[in-house]
């Protein structure tokens, strides 16, 4: 089964419900009070304006990185290196953002985010080059590059990008001019969320309303067919990989410019891996990914509230995320089997007649 030929529609919702059911049974098995937990989930994710802001804040990098994964997958490029590309983007954003003092705010922020996109794209291009010049499968190269990039950023905050005081493994704060505007204080929601929504819109237009998008999807569906149709699969896939890296890099950039203001060695914190689940749950469709990112943002936000008020471990949210992904794959598999055996039965019925 090709990852680009996922069954759409009901399977995503079914998988999510299965995951919530599985997650709840884990919770209740652990002895949590169901009422407390449910109240905490709702309050934590959508309880008031603050909670909604928190959900959307957490959804922001997931949305950008989810789009990154989806854009790659659509073109048949299995980029699972978003985690490392996020760090590359964050590091580039900090390297540029530090020197933006005195530059007009919109330009400073734009330059910082552009640096992030370039950082991510550069990181992904390494994998693309290995794939199309040296035939190294990108599944391998991107996951291996994750380790390289994570360790590289961990070195940066102890070396060239370490704070001037040279005390802690973190960078100095980027210039205030480079920080993204806050949308709804006191929530942490920042302009990066709007940027992520716009990116989803652009991805939608690119994939479904342009010739380039058609080529990209054609390459994803079948390299041979695309070649016969006159497309150059390698060029298209190279473009998709770099774009994918640019989106992941931007996810790192908005985390820095919208939230932390500094580079830390563990800034990405697994966002790049959760993004794979987000992309698949969103059926590799930009609008589906907006929804999936908000669901996962809500899940993380309510996980924090569950910890605070119901004493539930942080691991439970991860269990739910993992179950959602596995449920999704299982549902896809089942749907595929059902449609295939249905088709066989039909043709068998037609034959005698």
């Amino acid at each position: 089964m090709k990852i680009t030929q996922l069954q759409p529609g009901w399977t995503a919702v079914a998988a999510l419900l299965a995951a919530v059911a599985a997650g709840s049974s884990v919770l209740f098995a652990a002895g949590a009070d169901p009422g407390d937990v449910l109240a905490a989930v709702v309050r934590g994710a959508f309880g008031d304006l603050y909670a909604v802001g928190e959900t959307l804040t957490r959804a922001t990098p997931l949305l950008l990185a989810g789009l990154a994964v989806a854009l790659g997958f659509r073109a048949g490029v299995l980029n699972i290196g978003a985690e490392g590309q996020i760090m590359a983007g964050a590091a580039a954003a900090v390297a540029v953002g530090l020197h933006m003092g005195g530059v007009p705010a919109p330009i400073a922020a734009a330059a910082t985010l552009a640096a992030a996109a370039c950082g991510g794209a550069a990181a992904a291009s390494v994998a693309a080059w290995l794939r199309y010049r040296r035939s190294v499968p990108e599944v391998l190269s991107t996951i291996l590059l994750n380790f390289v990039l994570l360790n590289l950023s961990s070195w940066l905050v102890r070396g060239p990008l370490q704070e001037a005081a040279r005390a802690y493994p973190q960078s100095d704060r980027i210039a205030a001019e480079a920080m993204l505007p806050q949308l709804a204080p006191p929530t942490r929601l920042h302009a990066g969320f709007l940027l992520a929504l716009a990116a989803a819109g652009c991805c939608y237009l690119l994939l479904f309303r342009t010739a380039l998008g058609l080529r990209l999807r054609a390459v994803g569906l079948g390299v041979q067919a695309a070649r016969f149709a006159g497309f150059e699969p390698a060029k298209v896939a190279f473009f998709a990989t770099s774009m994918s890296g640019a989106l992941a890099g931007t996810a790192g950039g908005v985390e820095v410019a919208g939230l932390t203001g500094r580079l830390y060695g563990d800034l990405s914190g697994g966002i790049g891996y959760v993004a794979i689940a987000v992309a698949l749950l969103g059926r590799l469709h930009p609008l589906g990914i907006v929804a999936a990112a908000i669901v996962f943002g809500a899940l993380e936000s309510s996980a924090a509230e569950m910890q605070r008020s119901a004493g539930v471990s942080a691991a439970v949210a991860q269990v739910i995320e993992a179950t959602a992904l596995m449920g999704l794959l299982a549902a896809d598999f089942a749907a595929k089997r059902a449609s295939r055996s249905g088709a066989t039965a039909e043709s068998a019925a037609e034959e005698p007649a």
Binding site: G9, W10, A12, D48, Y50, V52, A292, R308, S309
Partner: protein, 331 residues
């Protein structure tokens, strides 16, 4: 239909949003002590986070406080962790690590009625309602160094640190200073794992220290320090534990441990707040308050020469009385 699926999905989310927005926020109850802990890692790590959690449990038991705990995954969550707990009515919030400093100062301004604590915070991280606290491991590391000098045959010791940060460097420098009291030519090497959890890396670095002639070892590497203890036990060299009494982790290697009583310090802060005498400041917990000290491994104590034992006791009582001060030096 293929195209429609995501829209349906979005509609579901919209409904969920609309349905749940009606809930109210939590009430504020300043009368009762409500203590929250933000831990940078899981509280079952048998080290840094576990000791903070133990402190939280003791505050709950001894002072009748309401408790809540939250593990933060990455730096973008620090601020949110403080703010959400403050909004939920917490009167005291511990951020267990230097990295919480920025967030504590920022959120501290938004919630003047809530007290914010930063463990191992950098100098300057305090305000009206924000305090940072450090444990002066130096007081115990100095004594460990003195003992180490009497046990070493090669005149060389190795120190394995987690992150290369000022408090760790300072502890190792105190260890070296203590060792030089016994042997002015004593040499101390410092290596850093780069994190607090990679036992394998700590073990490998320790083996290369032993290879280089270090026959006494000390660490300040939290969970990763277990790798140092393993290597010491295996190679039959002396070692000193850190943070907790680690005699049981390497019974044939550990001579003594430089311990810090993190739980007791947590209770002390909570008590200050309950009794209304808290003020934002940089707090240094030392041997004097009984928050730092050495704990011997009874099975290994006999290996230390009697005159050294006597000197260590004298030094310890001088440090405890305050007449001997071990300097903070992160050079």
């Amino acid at each position: 239909m293929r195209r429609m699926a995501p829209f349906r999905f979005l509609a579901c989310i919209g409904l969920l949003l609309a349905a749940s927005c009606s809930g109210g926020s939590s009430p504020n109850s300043p009368a009762k002590l409500h203590v929250a802990l933000l831990s940078p890692g899981p509280v079952n790590d048998n080290g840094w986070n576990a000791s903070a959690y133990e402190g939280l449990l003791r505050i709950e038991k001894e002072l009748g406080a309401k408790k809540s705990q939250q593990q933060v995954k990455n730096p973008s969550e620090f601020e949110e962790g403080y703010r959400s707990n403050a909004r939920a009515g917490a009167t005291l919030i511990f951020g267990h690590g230097f990295e919480f400093g920025d967030a504590a100062l920022k959120v501290g301004k938004e919630f003047p009625g809530t007290k914010f604590l930063v463990s191992a915070g950098a100098p300057g991280v305090h305000s009206e309602n924000v305090a940072s606290m450090v444990w002066r491991v130096e007081d115990a590391a100095y004594l460990c160094g003195r003992i180490a000098a009497s046990l070493s045959k090669t005149g060389k010791a190795g120190c394995v640190g987690g992150e290369d940060i000022p408090p760790v460097r300072s502890a190792f420098n105190a260890f070296e200073q203590g060792a030089k009291l016994g042997n002015p030519n004593f040499e101390v090497r410092q290596v850093y794992v780069g994190n607090w959890h990679d036992i394998g890396a700590a073990r490998a670095q320790t083996l290369s220290l032993i290879e280089a002639g270090c026959d006494v070892l000390f660490h300040d590497a939290d969970a990763a320090g277990l790798g140092m203890l393993e290597a010491a036990e295996q190679k039959g060299v002396f070692a000193f534990g850190c943070t907790k009494d680690q005699s049981s982790s390497a019974p044939k290697a550990v001579v003594a441990s430089a311990v810090t009583d993190v739980p007791k310090s947590f209770v002390e802060i909570a008590r200050e707040i309950q009794e209304g005498r808290f003020r934002g400041r940089r707090i240094e917990w030392t041997r004097k308050e009984g928050m730092v000290g050495i704990v011997w491994n009874p099975a290994m104590k006999a290996r230390v020469p009697a005159e050294v034992l006597k000197q260590v006791e004298e030094l310890d009582s001088k440090i405890a009385s305050g007449s001997l001060k071990i300097p903070y030096s992160a050079q």
